[in-house]
Symmetry: D2
Subunit: 319 residues, 4 copies
Amino acid sequence: MNFNRFAIPLLAGACLLTAFTGKAWAYESCHKSKWGPNDQIGALNNITQDNILAAAKLIKKGKSMRMGIETNAKTPAFAPRTYSVTIVRPGQDYAGQTMGNTKTNYHDDILNTWVGIGTQLDGLGHIGIDNTYYNCTPGTEVTGLSGLKKFGIETVPAVATRAVLLDMTALMGKDIIPEGTAFNQPEIEAALKRQGNMKINKGDIVIFYTGWHKLLGVDDKRNGSVEPGLGVQGARYLASLGVAMIGSDTWGLEVIPFENPGQVFHVHQILLAEFGVFILENVVAEQAIKDKVYEGMITVAPHRTTGSVQAIVNPTFIY
Amino acid sequence: MNFNRFAIPLLAGACLLTAFTGKAWAYESCHKSKWGPNDQIGALNNITQDNILAAAKLIKKGKSMRMGIETNAKTPAFAPRTYSVTIVRPGQDYAGQTMGNTKTNYHDDILNTWVGIGTQLDGLGHIGIDNTYYNCTPGTEVTGLSGLKKFGIETVPAVATRAVLLDMTALMGKDIIPEGTAFNQPEIEAALKRQGNMKINKGDIVIFYTGWHKLLGVDDKRNGSVEPGLGVQGARYLASLGVAMIGSDTWGLEVIPFENPGQVFHVHQILLAEFGVFILENVVAEQAIKDKVYEGMITVAPHRTTGSVQAIVNPTFIY
Amino acid sequence: MNFNRFAIPLLAGACLLTAFTGKAWAYESCHKSKWGPNDQIGALNNITQDNILAAAKLIKKGKSMRMGIETNAKTPAFAPRTYSVTIVRPGQDYAGQTMGNTKTNYHDDILNTWVGIGTQLDGLGHIGIDNTYYNCTPGTEVTGLSGLKKFGIETVPAVATRAVLLDMTALMGKDIIPEGTAFNQPEIEAALKRQGNMKINKGDIVIFYTGWHKLLGVDDKRNGSVEPGLGVQGARYLASLGVAMIGSDTWGLEVIPFENPGQVFHVHQILLAEFGVFILENVVAEQAIKDKVYEGMITVAPHRTTGSVQAIVNPTFIY
Amino acid sequence: MNFNRFAIPLLAGACLLTAFTGKAWAYESCHKSKWGPNDQIGALNNITQDNILAAAKLIKKGKSMRMGIETNAKTPAFAPRTYSVTIVRPGQDYAGQTMGNTKTNYHDDILNTWVGIGTQLDGLGHIGIDNTYYNCTPGTEVTGLSGLKKFGIETVPAVATRAVLLDMTALMGKDIIPEGTAFNQPEIEAALKRQGNMKINKGDIVIFYTGWHKLLGVDDKRNGSVEPGLGVQGARYLASLGVAMIGSDTWGLEVIPFENPGQVFHVHQILLAEFGVFILENVVAEQAIKDKVYEGMITVAPHRTTGSVQAIVNPTFIY
């Protein structure tokens, strides 16, 4: 999630912090994993060998699609998030210099980037409820200046399963679904029905296609401040089906403005902290949607940088 | 490639630069792509829909394996390569602070790392011959301080194809293949024969399993200074078969000490600059080797950081 | 202060946190500035035009001495502190490239460093008491992810005043004062007396010379884990005299092991949080000590990077 | 120098490179130091004990003035230059956490910045002539990916000497001197005459006051693309007088547009590469100019980060 875009303005409005505390809705912060006290991978436990075998059978056309957008200094991101890569040619500062009689020379690169820019996989240490994270883990057991002590992105296993694409643009007859449009059980079921009475299975990855990514580079301000997306009830519904991950071609997956303005990134909390369902952002399914293909095999493979909260990913969809 | 480990010492020995220039072996620096002057993806062009469909049929057990090792400050890397991730909690510096009546809080992370640490995909802009890169591209058209102008890692398409694993440890009866052991056509053919007369097809990805990764954290100095690996003739042989990528569980794929000491990272040049064959390093196939499974589907999906020379990857092998 | 070296091990020993809480010594966390609620520069207020004029009269030999040690990747610093500088030549990646008929070319550099490495000036936002900083300022009003909101190093005015050097090695007859040796009022007065009955004036900067810097590069482990230095009573004594800054040729100024093991960096707290006295670390007065000159003019001029907690400085001593 | 602002556009206009090469003006690239082959500090050799003693006598009012502007993310700088500082609180991620019964807590900071932002001291390795640097030093002996091998900013000795301020605004009767206004011998002499027939001595530091800094934050685009400043003849004139450093309240000291459009940053070359005269940029003398004080003692003390090309400095002027 490009969380910062929102978090800072929200926090800045100090009134918010009190405005909603009057109504003493108590959100339970501790949610135990059904896979035991040592579980760090949440709903990824739902992916079994049967999921992989079934997904393999969906590969019919022999097409593969990369779902990642590019990450660079122009990719929309809220302050203070920044990106840079610096290209270097160690020991070859002057061009005559090469190595050996093969005249070998080379480039190397240094990345200096906030991870939450571009296409992202949110790990289970990203969002908490009152400083408690997935599986009732206190923040003090998660946080660490030089890397998370728990739920680091390196813990994610090899993910290959069925992906279900939900074309909300076709369902709603709009090229770009407007901001604030919430996807809850009715919308999800309608999309499935429209796509040939599809069903979502345990261990699936669900990807919403909203057309929102078309605003990238066109209207970054609108893109990054609001979005259509998953609603609170829809999040609970999909989690109840046992999905492993949920993604969208938006920067934050969930509907913004929030359905309830006092519930800040509540969908993120439900998915990550309550159910251990991973979140994908800025995943673009353009090619498959054009092909009217709504299911296939997907792999999601984060760089295993130890202790990272998130990863810049590039899921592969094969159909 | 963890090229630095080698390049700097080699360059430091200035004598090397002259020692081998006496014998005027002229290595042609310009190698045109057979896919035309605009080609930036080289042998990835060999992957077709048939490759994908054939690979899907290899998924029989329903298992998936992540091939990436972890990247962190302890992962062996030559100076001046460094890695760090910094975990932050924007706007929540004091723990009482949460957002909304959902008491939302979160972690974010900042990566500051040389890309060539851990499991890597070398792009075609990584290695050149006398400052000329793949497809006869002059270095001046490739290089750029804030990102490569050509061959940036973001240009890699969605890669899904058959992977062939070659268990060199079983072939040679050793737990860890010693440094300096070259894999050329005879060794490659022997490995294929031992594994049930397998064949390598156009568009395949070939991965050597040498056991060398077992030195990680055990003898990092030996690990990072030498290695068993692909020889010059073997590189030309595999390239002639049309493979898309070649990888190994070593830091640099090719055999070190080099077969010919004056030919510095010549295998890298042959693969990247001559044939456009991508290179994978530190890819570990432990689980499949234990299962005695030598072929399956593989996906390789680099983070699409614009202009990066390389990517920290985590290929997924499905069988 | 290279605080990290200590803080992490101390924190790791969780027992410490409870061990000393039994004895309910209550350390008042709020200390108002006598220069009013808006004061951000503390004891630097003590430096007046008279201080400058008096200091100018101490310039007798016409010598100047830089007091900063070098900061680089080998300068001792506790994990996770790291330093790097990357040299680049924008747009001139291949050596033939120069600009204009003047054939202009240039280097540029990118610093990526924790600030607390090498010779440092600790700002008033560095250390707090129970999350309260100088002038009764709550941590929430100080902290900020992208820069301190208060007490940033850019607020430091032009500092030029008299410096008093205290040669503890000559006083104690040792080349290097051993770790754990505390400097309190008796030792300070003895040093002043030995140096010709010197007096410390309001607005002065006091610098201890202990010989400890001689361990740099020789025994970095010993250097960085313990040190001789200012004691709790000595800190209060010097603060009562109205000194503006106190420094030493050690990494952390204050005596370690601490005089009272439960009082962690208490001297830092007294100086920074109670009295607004700035701290200098790793300031080396070698040349003046050899010249047996113990007073002169000093300038301390931090890089004005907005919101920095500390600065890498290089005070100039003129005599 | 904020060189990038200019260099990239200039280089981008490839025509420039050829446009002026037709007229074969040969600029000698090798200029030997008169202080011998090992000299790395150039005109700083001109500062003697007499300079310091004479400067001390200029301290009459007891005032000190910091000459550095702030460096932060909003300080004008050309792409790809960026600045960030990240504030951290190691081991204290949750506010309850303090150390010991003193309840100690602290902030630390990580700087990640191009050095050429804000007030800068250009070292002698910054600019070359056809890849040759000061004292006939080939670029290959200077450059180094992880720090300059020669002329690193850490080599600068303790600089304390007389500074002469030249108020060009009063001379020319303008609040802000317009861009393109060149300061050569006539203008310099006129300014000296107006200020009471002042003389510039060997070892002095000369600072131009142009009012240009008033554009900071007001018209950053104009500020950073052009400027009034030192001309080619004026640079040679001041160098011939033996000045140690020359600075201005502009981002690049020298007049832009250049007097001769084919001579790109030629003043920089003359000062740094020919004469070893150091350059200061964005040094603001506001307070002294208001006081109509034109001479005093100055100290310039770069952070001693080993191998840095430049330093972010904050000169202290005392009068």
